[in-house]
């Protein structure tokens, strides 16, 4: 296990570097001179030349990448073109909000998915199974930004039960764990939860159905265990895979919440990305993508390690 841990950590380094390179290239593939991503378009020519030298943009691409990387590992993601503030200062409050939203959505998706998938896998071919499978397909097929709009129409416009916008009363961007704020979380979290719900349902259904067919379950039944005790054994066998799936989903949600955040004006990384796209603020775009992707790499690593630790059957060579 220890050697596996070390090897997995070492393997993550080139991936992280390559992810950094892709993010670096984002500014390079953007149409126009990359210098436009740093200085405003109306800057005088001398300033442009000065900045070009300061940033090393007159040097070859590999050296530029090295310089950029050096800054990034020191926590300097550059400055926003629109506000002039360092990218990181806007980013770190947004990340907290996105994490709150993604975590709430994963939790809802995981609980519902496990219940639906577990029932469907146990009672395969029944009405319950059909309902669960249909819900799962609908969950992965629905354009979630549209679902968000529908929920707003029903619960905010027609029924007036829940707020439609922002993360707190009066459009405040700071999160707190009280009912006022929780109200704002409900609709976006439910909207975002349908995708992991669908995927977890499918996965858990498959896993449970496969386990139920195995001989040890028959043996347990033959031994005279109650169905509750058999269920405990099934859960023990299904849990590592199910946890791995939801762990990755959390990462997908962090990246994928941009559309839902736009619909609900949720002050997270998605809204930040959206305004960066709108204003063509490339440093903010690059910084946000980089941080989210790095988070995803770390999460992948973590899920892999936890899964190995939880499941003694997995022996990685």
């Amino acid at each position: 296990m220890f050697f596996y841990l070390i090897r997995r950590l070492i393997y993550a380094v080139p991936i992280a570097l390559a992810v950094g390179f892709v993010c670096f290239m984002l500014v390079q593939i953007a149409p126009g001179d990359p210098i436009n991503a740093i200085v405003p378009p109306d800057a005088p020519q001398e300033v442009v030349e000065q900045v070009r030298r300061d940033y090393g943009l007159d040097k070859p691409l590999p050296i530029q990448f090295g310089l950029w990387l050096l800054k990034v590992v020191q926590g300097d993601l550059g400055r926003s073109l629109a506000t002039g503030r360092p990218v990181w200062s806007d980013l770190h409050s947004a990340i907290g909000n996105t994490l709150t939203l993604a975590f709430a959505a994963s939790l809802i998706g995981f609980v519902l998915g496990c219940i639906l998938g577990g029932l469907a896998g146990t009672f395969r071919g029944s009405i319950l199974d059909r309902v669960a499978v249909t819900t799962a397909v609908a969950g992965v097929s629905v354009p979630h930004y549209w679902l968000g709009m529908v929920l707003v129409v029903i619960f905010s416009v027609q029924l007036n039960w829940l707020p439609a916008m922002g993360a707190g009363p009066g459009g405040s961007a700071d999160w707190a764990w009280d009912w006022e704020h929780m109200q704002h979380l409900i609709l976006p979290a439910v909207t975002l939860s349908v995708i992991p719900m669908g995927i977890v349902t499918r996965t858990v259904r498959g896993i449970v159905a496969e386990i139920m067919n195995q001989e040890f379950v028959v043996a347990l039944r033959g031994k005279g265990l109650t169905s509750w005790n058999v269920f405990v054994h099934v859960v023990k066998n299904a849990a590592p895979n199910a946890l791995a799936v939801i762990g990755l989903q959390l990462g997908y949600l962090m990246g994928g919440s941009i559309l839902v955040e736009t619909v609900f004006s949720w002050p997270g990384t998605g809204l930040l990305l959206n305004s960066a796209i709108f204003q063509r603020d490339l440093p903010v775009l690059q910084g946000t993508i980089l941080v989210l992707a790095m988070f995803f790499v770390a999460l992948n690593l973590f899920v892999d390690l936890v899964q190995t630790a939880l499941d003694p059957r997995i022996k990685r060579s």
Binding site: P14, I15, A16, A18, V19, V22, C23, L26, V27, I29, A30, P31, V137, A138, V140, S141, V142, P143, Y145, W146, L147, M149, V150, V152, V153, V157, Q158, G251, Y252, M254, G255, G256, I258, L259, T262, V263, L273, N274, A276, I277, F278, R280, L282, L285, Q286, I289, L292, A293, F296, V297, N300
Partner: protein, 299 residues
């Protein structure tokens, strides 16, 4: 063995393979025709496809021509069965026309990724060794990004526009197709008939063309069809964010975005484009599932 004998033997093998696959396809269609849900979804998709292909002839109004005096009419208005949008344009007309771009942007990136990804994946799987390493490690990098984020990152950097969105979406779907193609090719490459073909003197190109592709295209194709629904949602999502299609072009995602302001005035008109995206996407998903079962592809 001289080349003509080898060619003759290959021809025999190919004919036998063709006969065998004839029976296989008959079985597939038989199973498909019994699967009522899949047939129903395929029928819905066919109707939608016909409706959007013939949109200019069946649509009641002009998709661009608006009117300030009949903005945001409700569903069921005389002459405007699905109401009008925020610029007074007929929703039904725009939905019919918008389907063209939405379908185009849902299918084309997957088709492009299918061609590129299959090529790279089959090369990686068939040749193995260093080339496999190189191609697979490169796909690992793209796997380190959540797909939505990658699509938004690339098209966000390239800027708005249909072409840029298609490039971004194609990039997103190439790595997963490479993975599937590589794994099925590696499985096929070690089978006895490939060794037999090699022993009888067939060139690598012939082996790939006759023995490998015939066996790997099915599973990869099934996998690619399951991506169409994701691609459609992503493409509409990009337009929804203002990347992808630009106004006044009708497209379902963009229509959702511009109608979002009307959500307090005509909520049920505003959500209509999403219903279209949802219907198309769920039908593609179910047809893909049905095909997978009928063709007996695992995974």
């Amino acid at each position: 063995m001289n080349t003509s004998a080898a060619a003759a033997e290959l021809a025999v093998q190919a004919r036998q393979a063709a006969q065998a696959s004839d029976g296989y396809w008959k079985g597939v269609f038989k199973r498909l025709s019994r699967d009522k849900l899949t047939m129903f979804c395929a029928f819905v998709l066919l109707c939608m496809a016909l409706a959007i292909i013939f949109a200019p002839w069946i649509a009641p109004h002009d998709p661009y021509q608006g009117s300030m005096i009949r903005r945001l009419r409700p569903i069921g208005t005389d002459g405007y069965p699905l109401g009008t949008d925020e610029l007074g344009r007929d929703i039904l007309t725009r939905l019919l026309h918008g389907g063209r771009l939405s379908w185009f942007m849902g299918i084309l990136p997957v088709a492009l990724a299918f061609v590129i990804g299959t090529t790279l994946g089959v090369i990686a799987g068939f040749l193995g060794g260093k080339i496999n390493m190189l191609i697979m490690r490169m796909t690992d990098v793209f796997y380190a990004f959540p797909s939505v984020l990658l699509a938004i990152a690339i098209s966000g950097a390239l800027g708005a526009g249909i072409l840029n969105a298609i490039i971004a979406l194609t990039m997103v779907f190439i790595p997963p197709i490479i993975r599937v193609a590589e794994s099925v090719t590696t499985g096929v490459r070690n089978l006895d008939f490939v060794d037999a073909a090699r022993a009888s003197g067939a060139s690598a190109f012939t082996i790939v063309r006759v023995h490998v592709l015939g066996n790997v295209l099915g599973p990869i194709f099934i996998y690619a069809t399951s991506l169409i629904s994701v691609c459609m949602i992503l493409a509409s999502g990009l337009s929804f964010l203002g990347l992808g299609t630009r106004p006044p072009e009708p497209e379902w995602g963009l229509m959702l975005n511009t109608l979002r302001t009307a959500i307090y005035v005509q909520p049920w008109v505003a959500v209509l484009p999403g219903v279209c995206i949802f219907m198309t996407s769920i039908c593609f998903n179910l047809v893909s599932d049905g095909l997978r079962t009928a063709m007996d592809v695992k995974g």
